[in-house]
Amino acid sequence: MPTFERFTMPDAGEGLTEADIVTWHVAVGDPVTVNQTIVEIETAKSLVELPSPFTGVVAEILAVEGTTVEVGQPIIVIDTDPTGAAGPVDAGAGAQDQDQEPAAEASDVPEESGSGAVLVGYGVATAGTTRRARRATEPSTPSVPDAVGQAAAPAPAPARTTTASPAPASPANARSTSAPSATVPSTPAGLTAPASAAVAPSARPASVVPALVHPVQSVTQVAPRPGTLAVRAKPPVRKFARDMGVDLSSVHATGPGGIVTREDVLAYSAQAQPRALATYVDDDAPWLATGQVSSDGRQTRVPVKSVRKRTAEAMVASAFTAPHVTVFHTVDVTKTMRLVARLREDREFTDVRVTPLLITAKALLLAVNRHPEINASWDEVTQEIVYKHYINLGIAASTPRGLVVPNIKDAHRLGLKGLAQGLADLTATARAGRTSPADMSDGTITITNVGVFGIDTGTPILNPGEAAILAFGAIREQPWVHKGKIKKRFVTQLALSVDHRLVDGALGSRLLSDVAAVLEEPSQALVWG
């Protein structure tokens, strides 16, 4: 028989409670071996690569990239005996669940919130915390025999047959397999649980509903439901649900004593429909990776976190503490373009990328060297201006994870080639999502290359703690007065925002004018270099 093992999110630091899934290195169907890196996660402390604890074939990936997963939640299912006969995923996984998860008084403990504490000695909240016995019988304890519960809870189609799409870990199923642990004496983690694997296959009605369940939400957003074994609903509501194609076990019950009402079914149905709409046809990835779709299907609310959150905080801090002034300059960069073309042919530069941005970065470094007062920071606490004797040149980078502004340390010491290498490294690291906090800290001045989006220029907001930021616009061929005649020339626009608390318009203008002078006539660099 195929044996399905779940790997739950570990605590990769001491006492962490959650981590973000950054990149999966494996997909459903991939073979994996013990200790092979399968996923990269980001904790509050660091980026960490997780090695697989099992050898086998990936049966199911339970958490998509970008989601935050609590420690203890399963993230992947691996079939450790893929040559065996097919069987439903959750039978095996559920069995795992069962040995690790004690039967909680589940009326207020979401069952999916963890498959047990593999970690020991730390304060991470795991599901199934045991409580002292209450003498009175719990109203929420199963009132229906186990067998009924299993029959009512459909198992989804096995993941291996649905190939690409992560098989929805149907909440119903999780319940049907974890609930029996109420009656099975729990065993130490790691031992094989008895019997339950044999139960699930028999309970597989041709339910169609799980297909509607959003793959993400089935993992991250399962509402707490009564932990009763069977769904409690009146017969007319059951029929209504069946007619609507709604799986009762997925419905959040609000009726007295945990009964599912007709309204509950309607509310669920309304919510389920737009979820399907939010997903492109034939596309496993939902349109938005996370979020809650409104009941009319016209809005999605996404929690602000991670890079988005940090960007927002930084921009608010900057925009509302530093009074911004922006100056503009339109410049003929034809000679810079010639220089770029020539350097690309140069043997010295064969292994690095020469771009107009590189020359602009160099021009900015030279200009800062002539006006070092701009390379400074306002210290509100001590009421001092901190002048930096080094240039850590920030480059605003748009990455799949959002805006990051890593900087090239001590850029003023770099020659043109070193600078090109620095730019290449920085970009590659940012694209790979590996930019570390150290890479982003202690910047002194920044370039934002809005030109790559075909934009003329913008009024950039300062990176907090810096006094100037240069926006580099798109380079276009334009008619331009050159030596008294109208010629076709390469022209671009530069914009420089400065913190007016410490930089006056005159200084900002002189700096921008110097940058423009080098771009217009690169040989000026020989004079100023």
């Binding site: 630091g13 980026l47 020991v120 000695g121």
Partner: protein, 389 residues
Amino acid sequence: MTDLLHQAHLAHESDAIDDVPLQLLAPDGSRVADERNAPYRARIADLDADALRGLLRDMVLVRAFDTEATSLQRQGELALYAPLLGQEAAQIGSGRALAPQDMAFPSYREHGVAYTRGVDLPQVLQLFRGIDHGGWDSEAHNFHLYTLVIGSHALHATGYAMGVQRDGLVGTGDPARDTAVIAYFGDGATSQGDVSEALGFAAVNNAPVVLFCQNNQWAISVPTSKQTRVPIYRRGAGFGVPSIRVDGNDVLAVYAATQEALERARTGGGPTFIEAVTYRMGAHTTSDDPTRYRTSEEEQHWRDRDPIDRMRAHLVAEGLWDAEHQAALDAEAAALGERVRTYVKGLGRPAASSMFDHVYATDHSLVTRESAWFADYEASFAETQGGHR
């Protein structure tokens, strides 16, 4: 009475040249022979081919264990783990110089030393899984439990050594009786008062103790340059303790220097301070992210000085190592990794009552009472649980 004048003189005179760590193997694996290391060369002269291969085997196995343990932490099987990656030579070289009756006091990264003391490596992980305060019988192995408090065990070791001295187990001339004590700590620990106190006590009492500092360059994120203005080994001179700086990634140099120090201790010559200059190639612990405070160039610099590569290169150059040896060792390392994994996964939970077991050496009425109360309390969960996990 100790000849303090003489010792102080010794330590001072050679300061300048001794800043260069003692080396018997260059990073490329070739033997280093100069006037200064001649006495140490003599100490390894009797290491035959099997002994030399054994040192490489030890280092490779310990690293295999280390890799597996790091993975197990990432898989949620261990709460925490402190990798020794990069420090194999410092630990194996010094550990293999110990005699069976010698006593070792480790900090929490000395998995290599544990191995040389006959501790079955997987047992070490009980501590890191959080199910035991130790994991081995420290008396059976003459290997104390891991000490997590930085530097405090330097004092424990010094006190233990003074006890050995008072038991008359020093300077008897019987190599099977004469006993030395060794304490392992890091560069960061030298900033703790305890280590200075230990040096002071060890010196004035002429205690048979070797204070072995693995300077792995980083005290978590604090570099050695933020700990000391002089090379760490020179601290010893101020206390009147003979000191030596050794290349900690050179297993032969570490072996020779430690053997010399242990011999001095056993024969009544008193304490020695050893600074083994090495590098922590991995994280401080699995909770640490070293990329935040050090450069990849620095890491590469030390990867090029890998202690295992160095010893292997030496054996290959001497014609003592071939593909067959390598294949056998690789298989052995893989098997150890597998065994570690199986062992850790098979560790259950200790009975909660075991926390009362070692509070006192003998029965104690208060503890007995508390133990009984706790058992009763635990039993009250049974109705919802069917027993605790």
